[in-house]
Symmetry: C2
Subunit: 238 residues, 2 copies
């Protein structure tokens, strides 16, 4: 029997890719702020607790993508969509009997370590930022994603959910690592992202963890070994 | 010339102690949600940006204590007072030209490590939880204090403030370590807390750091060595 998986923010860049690449393998449900043509979608607001509990009932896993996604997002935007919205999603998941939440975090929770990239290039060393380093957000957007991660830790430790946070690097529309060197170093191909998400969906043994969403890129200073060890993520691109 | 220091939450248990123990040594200003008898106080709400900017102007350091303080606080309470309120305080401090914010965080940002205490007792080992361990909040209150710490890190790294987070253990009204063993292990005497705050106020070299607010207690699993090394905190009680 196919696993029931619900995607919030299903109309966005990453959500649109996931619902196509995962189609047929899962019993997919979609939540979006706008209708998605030709697909059955719950059109709803992630700050609506009652609506989210109703939408989540019967799903085993939630992939929570809906958010203000720009690093330059205002406080008002991240407060509403990323803080209140993410709280609502976790609390609704708990009340709806969902077993797992996969939270779309961001490299911007540790964005201040970007200096490590320059130092690595300069010194021909290779320092790695892993999932255990202290949080150093580079923006209010990054702070809001730190909030989502620590909230997820709380729901995993104390409310019985299984939670995985994915610190997504840089997934782009044309699915190619074109742009600045730092952006390229944290690029993730769409098929590598799908692989990472599907490995998370199958990881019943993981109570809580944090993985970086990056392909196998030269000069990447984010750790991918931890995801390989824990869930067998093996990026095909880079 | 005395340093200008403003205390938010000056009418609370800890604020009331600080304004007495620090009186005369600093040019103290007070912000409180209620009037404080016989003292000049700005009666205001920490979610009022305009009011806080006006209140903060001319202060070198802010000691931000105002918050919903119960570990059982509801989401609505911590969202308003600890998340929106703390954002307002940091942003207002930035706009008012304040140099340093000392943020009253809490042991509850790492409260899930409480099992370490039991294990230490059982194994006669002594594992220490320091300022670098991954955040593991035990409550929505703890999550809200995690938010304040990562927000402080952002304001230190990117907005020019100096920020110190104090993970306060257990300060109580009668200033004595009476109660359960875990509470006693993280007790802090009022005079040790004042010492810790005053050492922070003098620590011009600290751009960002996190210290535990505990006395020198047996069986304490929170690190006090880091505060001793960085700012010379030497607890007198325990």
């Amino acid at each position: 029997m196919k696993k029931s998986v619900l995607i919030t923010g299903a109309g966005g860049l990453i959500g649109s890719h996931l619902r196509v690449s995962m189609a047929g393998k899962y019993n997919l449900r979609l939540v979006s702020s706008d209708p998605i043509p030709d697909l059955e979608t719950v059109v709803g607001d992630i700050t609506d607790m009652t609506g989210m509990i109703a939408a989540f009932k019967g799903s085993e896993s939630i992939i929570h993508l809906a958010a203000s996604r720009r690093v330059s997002s205002s406080w008002d935007a991240v407060l509403r969509n990323n803080i209140i919205g993410t709280y609502t999603v976790f609390e609704a998941a708990y009340h709806a009997g969902v077993q797992q939440v996969i939270f779309a975090s961001s490299n911007h929770v540790v964005g201040t370590y970007e200096t490590v990239y320059a130092q690595n290039i300069q010194n021909s060393q290779h320092v790695i930022i892993d999932h255990l380093v202290p949080l150093r957000p580079d923006s209010l957007y990054g702070v809001s994603k730190c909030f989502g991660e620590t909230l997820g830790r709380y729901y995993a430790d104390h409310r019985g959910l299984r939670v995985i946070c994915l610190r997504i690097g840089w997934i782009n529309r044309n699915d190619a690592p074109t742009g600045g060197e730092i952006a390229c170093s944290m690029w993730q191909s769409k098929r590598d992202f799908t692989q990472l998400v599907e490995k998370c969906l199958g990881a019943d043994h993981v109570k809580f963890d944090i993985f970086y969403g990056v392909s196998n890129n030269p000069n990447c200073y984010f750790d991918i070994e931890h995801a390989r060890e824990v869930i067998g993520y093996v990026p095909l691109d880079g």
